[in-house]
Symmetry: C3
Subunit: 348 residues, 3 copies
């Protein structure tokens, strides 16, 4: 008779458990329904019309309203946590994120990650792991993929360092590499119903937009959100997991909150199609009032009728002056929570 078993629970992977080329099939596929949309709207002030109305989506050439792009991202990401970030010290970055196919009610998502980079740190205690994660639907089509790199602890400090492989990643996805959903057509776009009159042509490079609104976040909300994406990292849920008794808010909650707040000024930045990079600059705790501002970084045409691409910096803050980002030392100001660089599609 076995008295107890630590071996049945998941201890997570350590740095020496990753090998270049390994493909990890992540657990717990997930079928999405109308429930996810309603909850997304309850959790965030999300108002982009394409994701709110089947009719609006149809008028833009889609069969119906898809799942919010960031919800798809959170679901795909959440599945990787038990295999990639359970023993992570830090989430270092994102790159080359692309949404390839809209996700619709009834679709089932799963994730897999390929190890594409490894670099042991000079202290010999940790290392950096790069993975390319793919979200797949029930037909094994890739609905999105992105690269993430994290700093992971070693289990055994004597384990030999692997050969260093640092993947070459583009800083910015080239516009021609963005996937515009099949059939997307903004030539009959209804600006009244979308909420703002500003077209792609109305945004200037370098233009900055203060999104004005703020939302003070509560413990119950970020935990509901994080569980919804089946992300089970302890630090988000368990007040005994961190020395100071706080629960760290999942970075993705801040991303979705900031994106939803950006409706006010960017209501027509309908679909997110590329994630060039992102930094969770400072941790966010319950009680914080999240605000957001954006900067237009680039613009490009797409082959789709009436559809332009706009590259935006989305910054979430806990207050302070709008448009302030980094101090004289080049470091993020303490009130900056998020600095995200993404491509969206907008009516020309």
């Amino acid at each position: 008779m076995q008295e107890t078993s630590q071996s049945k629970t998941n201890a997570g992977r350590f740095f020496e458990d990753y090998r270049i080329g390994d493909v990890i099939r992540h657990a717990v596929p997930r079928t999405v329904s109308g429930g996810e949309r309603a909850l997304y709207q309850a959790l965030y002030p999300a108002r982009h019309a394409l994701y709110s109305s089947d009719e609006f989506a149809r008028s833009a050439g889609l069969p119906k309203s898809p799942l919010e792009d960031l919800a798809a991202f959170h679901i795909v990401f959440g599945k990787t946590v038990p295999d990639v970030s359970l023993n992570a010290v830090a989430n270092l970055g994102y790159a080359e994120g692309r949404w390839h196919l809209p996700v619709y009610e009834g679709d089932t998502l799963r994730s897999e990650s390929e190890v594409i980079g490894l670099k042991q740190n000079s202290n010999g205690k940790t290392g950096v792991v790069w993975v390319r994660t793919r979200g797949l639907n029930q037909r094994d089509d890739v609905v999105m993929d992105y690269v993430r790199w994290v700093m992971v602890k070693k289990r055994d400090l004597d384990a030999p360092a692997p050969e260093t492989v640092v993947p070459e990643l583009v800083d910015v996805i080239a516009p021609q590499d963005l996937a515009v959903p099949e059939g997307l057509d903004f030539t009959a776009y209804d600006f009244d119903l979308a909420g703002e009159p500003h077209r792609w042509g109305d945004y200037a490079l370098g233009e900055k937009i203060d999104h004005v609104d703020g939302v003070t976040v509560e413990e119950a909300e970020h935990m509901l959100a994080t569980r919804l994406w089946q992300n089970t990292a302890k630090v988000h849920f368990d007040t005994t997991a961190r020395p100071d008794g706080t629960r760290l808010i999942y970075g993705g909650h801040v991303i979705s909150m900031a994106r939803a707040l950006s409706f006010n000024g960017l209501a027509n930045a309908q679909m997110i199609v590329g994630l060039n990079g992102g930094a969770h600059a400072n941790p966010c705790l319950s009680g914080t009032t999240i605000r957001a501002w954006s900067e237009v970084l680039d613009k490009a045409e797409t082959g789709a009728p009436g559809v332009g691409a706009i590259r935006l910096r989305l910054v979430a803050t806990s207050g302070g002056e709008p448009f302030a980002l980094k101090g004289a030392d080049g470091k993020y100001l303490p009130e900056v929570l998020l600095d995200l660089d993404y491509w969206a599609l907008m009516p020309i």
Copy 2:
């Protein structure tokens, strides 16, 4: 290069921006699903059987269970906030609210408001705007409409006062003007499944019912609810928006809470078909234990088989003695949160 842009965000309309006869098409249509029903039941102790069970709804002649009437109201109302009440000082009243068609899963709602009244206040700084708001479905059928009037700030105090137009509004919708859903039939009504044996005939004019139960409300809950209806008024979400750092609970949250509490004693007041008037007597904050009582104001027959109409006063309070409403000065007592006058349909 444009450095920053305040012009991209919505500053809202001021008093002088409204013209009699203007029709404002509000933004962000919304397709409803089973998610909204589940969330409504999670947010409120909602138990009216017609809205909980497809089978019960079928036995009453409907194709399936509709969206709660108040959820439809909140969705239609929420869309008007950016255009009507962003610069409102006060929500002064409701009248002539009628539900014309049940809303079902898959329906897409949008709203439009017609300016039907304008009256500048004697102080020259504010004015009252009356709008008739219509909620429309994807077939452009009106699913509900109501009149609301709000006090709105002037942007430019020197703007000339418009000609005063005060719409004539009925105090109470006449029973023959209520829309009974096509096919509604309560002759096979199952009182066991509905939860109470009391029929239309069992309620006497002037009868008052203490609904007994109470719910203590939390910040996370009212924010989830208010976002769900895509109502983005700052005061509900942002602790920095009001000098005292509190978040004001959306009045509609109190309406839905009180209506759900009224199940205990009015389980058979199934469908809300008319809103005669309503006052948010005092603000409601998180931590309040909401209670409710009702008074039977009127009763009427309808043409539909087995279906009677009952006119009810629904009062939500934060405590105090049941049935207390106003003080000797004719003003609402401080514990009164809501005084609502509505018509519901009940089995005879």
Copy 3:
């Protein structure tokens, strides 16, 4: 004119209102949708693959992913509260709980309870009532049933004691009496997607598993959950209902939380098919960090291909040493919240 009416609200049943053989049809049938699944995943860290993915469920021989078994239980249970436990002093136990049929989106559930036992307590003030509750779908098929007994107050202390009837209940459901869903087949089970490699054969009798993770619970969350199941017992919602101003967390919330936490170590204990017994050992309040551990009590084969049954003790705690249950006095330790004994189905 009737001035007020206490008679319209539900005062609940008292001990002398129950008669052996009475069948109570409980109110408010409920149609379930994708909204309930999404909310369940938002409220609990629920990751069992069969309930998350339609594809996974299909690969196991089911038509699609069913509603979580415990969600079905909560819905069936919630309906009984107004008739069974409104005047209950204590929820004393569960027995003979069986899930007979999976519940799918679109199904409508209702409940009925048969009084099968009565025993007045020697103090003459209270008595114990045993009911067998059945959850039925829209085809009147029993989807689950269980026995519950509660201690209920007498209204009239002079009411004569009924003849004592104590039902004979089995301590443990015999494996051959468990209902394995028609078509269930685990021969093509994908352990990667399920999240753990451990098969039925890998679990030893007496083995104990510390599920490691913890969730700190919030007021808003347990109220959302409890309302979702239309359980309206005052003590869960109203800070004025208990002398100390706390809201008691619905015992079922603790059950679902512990079951979801048990994923980590029991990811393949997919379906719950039997509830042998359960005790809510100590009350749970907001702010508690719920943890869980399990013990393997028994194992049995089933007739279904690749499907084994495993009998588990699931213990939820508010902290303390894992695997500690009772003190030297034979009483539950103060940190033990729940001691549940159930059968689950697992791939062999």
